[in-house]
Every structure is written in C-alpha cells, then in structure tokens.
Subunit: 181 residues, 2 copies
Amino acid sequence: MSRPPRARDSVLDAFEQLLISDGARAATMDATARAAGVSKGGLLYHFASKDALAAGVIERLSALVTDDVDAIRTAPEGPVAFFLRSSVMADDPLDRAIIAVSRLAQAGSAAANAALREMRERWEEALRPHVRDQAALDLVILVSDGLYFNNALGGDTATAPVPEGAALDALIALVEGSVRS
Amino acid sequence: MSRPPRARDSVLDAFEQLLISDGARAATMDATARAAGVSKGGLLYHFASKDALAAGVIERLSALVTDDVDAIRTAPEGPVAFFLRSSVMADDPLDRAIIAVSRLAQAGSAAANAALREMRERWEEALRPHVRDQAALDLVILVSDGLYFNNALGGDTATAPVPEGAALDALIALVEGSVRS
DNA sequence: GTCTATAAAAAGATAGAC
DNA sequence: GTCTATCTTTTTATAGAC
C-alpha cells in the first residue's frame, strides 16, 4: 500500500499500452518486459504470473473509478452531461484502464469481467438520482457504453465514428432532454 | 462460390462458437479442430492459416449484414425500433457473427476492425432517412453499440445488465420519441 | 478430403548469478 | 531488485500416408 516501486508502475503502464494498441494477444509477458525496458526476470519479480499482471491493471481501474464516481456526483454541468462527455476517450488514465481491462475481459478473464460489471453498477448508483426512470438510466448507460465500445475497437484506425465537438454537444442535449427527472 | 463443403462450415461454426464463449485467446486452431470434430490436418485443408479462418467468419458477417440492412429498411414496426430490438442478442447468426468478429477485432485483427466499421456505415445509411438529424442518428447507433458491447462482454456470466422485455420496450419508446424525424 | 506425425516458434514460468 | 539461462507447454504450420 505504501509506495510501489517505479519499475512496477512502468511495467503496468507498458502492459496497459500493449493491451490498448495491440490487443490481449500481443500483450505477452515478453513484449511487456521489452516495452517496459526490463528483462523478463525483472518483470517476474514484480508480477509473478500473467494473472498478477492482469490483477494489477484491474486494481488500478478500481481506484480510478472511485475518483470518477466522486467527480460525477459533484460535476457542475450535471452528472449526466459530465458522464457522457467523459465517456469519449480523452486518453486519460481512466479511459486507458477501461479499454485495457475490456481487452482482458474479451480475451476471457473472469476477473476483468467482474471489474467492469462492478464499475457499471457504481456508475448506475451515481446517476440514478438524476434521471427520470429506469429506461432513462438504461439510455444514458448504453450511450456511454456505445462511446467506449467504439473507442475500444479502432485502436489506431483512421476515421473515428464517435461524435466530437458540436456533434457531441448535440447528442448530450438530446439525451438530457430525454432523461431529466 | 458454388457449394462450400459441409466440413468447412462446421469448422467455421466451431471457431465462431469458441470466439463467443471463450474469447480469441482460447480459439486456437487445435481447439477449433477438436470442437468441429476434425483433425488439425483436416482443418488446415480448408483453412490454411489462422488468418484464413478469421477471413472466413468476416466474410460470413458481411453476407449477414446485407440481409440485415434489407430487413431494417422494410421492417413493419419501423427501422429504428427493429434495429434496436435486433441489437439485443437473440443468438441468431448475425449476432453471433458480430460478437465473434468483435473478439477478433479486440485481439488485434485489422481485417475484423475494418469489417465492423463497414457494417456500421451500412447501418447508418439505412437508418439516416428515418431520423431527425445527425445527433438522433448518433444516439440510435450508440445505444445499439452499447447493447452489443454488453452482450459481447459477459459471455456466460450471471446477471445480464442489458434491458429485456418491458424494460427494452420502454427504452425503445424513449429513443423513438427522441429521434423520430 | 481427412488423417497422423512432427517440426518450429512462441508463450509462461523457474533457478540461480549478480 | 534485476539479470541470464533454461525448461515446459502450447500454438502454428508442414509433410506425407491413406
């Protein structure tokens, strides 16, 4: 809990980056060690197995979700607008963690799957007081999921099909008009 | 083009099923051959490499999307309602193909990624005449993506976070009220 | 068209030196 | 705390019999 070594964090960063840009298949322990600038043995000192490496990014996600839920509850522009806007990849630590853990989940990790479900539940709790009914809550969460989904695919491909700028503002206004309690 | 051998199709079915239920990591050529009830050599006669196997499911997806777009355009309940309703996994061939190709995309396949983007574009073309504006189109597509995303995760996990039955009807009504042109 | 046998590479993991 | 060397298992792919 105290102060994780610098090398440990850089290994975790490298693993996360590989998951994001090349997928779970390419995020091998060998590739992670190379990307982090350590040897395989050095990596294995910090993370004794591939599961431990996955647990590392999942744990990091959990902590970031805690901060995010606080930010949602106290957002000046309102929880719904803030939530949707922050669902568009800003390349911040939370977005990166979500996409990385999504890759693990789709590669078959039960722990990653559970973490994503828990994140979803915590979002629902934070948003529920601010929407009209369950259908409105479903709508907001599904639009957010859609935004993440499209960011999670793509990787580094050319045209991003996700609305940005004025288009995103229009989408948020449309959703807010439909869900406000 | 004429009449693909029966064994070829059963190999493709097995590969798709493995992708859906266990992820790209588990969908090895060995496991696929076993699940299809053929030997590794038998599989390799039909699909000379793992890329060829992936190309097979991608090609099948393309054909199914063509049918789906026709169904969307001519749906009696209206294109938007039909589109959203069919976004909830019904375990039909199209849903299965989408989820399988999504797994490949998230595992790093560029071809799978391109196929999903093309599918999206064809959906947008079919829906655009039936919604108010671009924000409305974005909303419909993102809700659909959200529904697929949640089905694509999960696999066989306990609680499905996707609205069903009356909750789905309420969601569709809410979206239709917001997007109708 | 389908099989067995096997090669070649890559992955996860261990042991022990420094 | 980090390295090199090595082992085991898994995965992809080839060769050739039937």
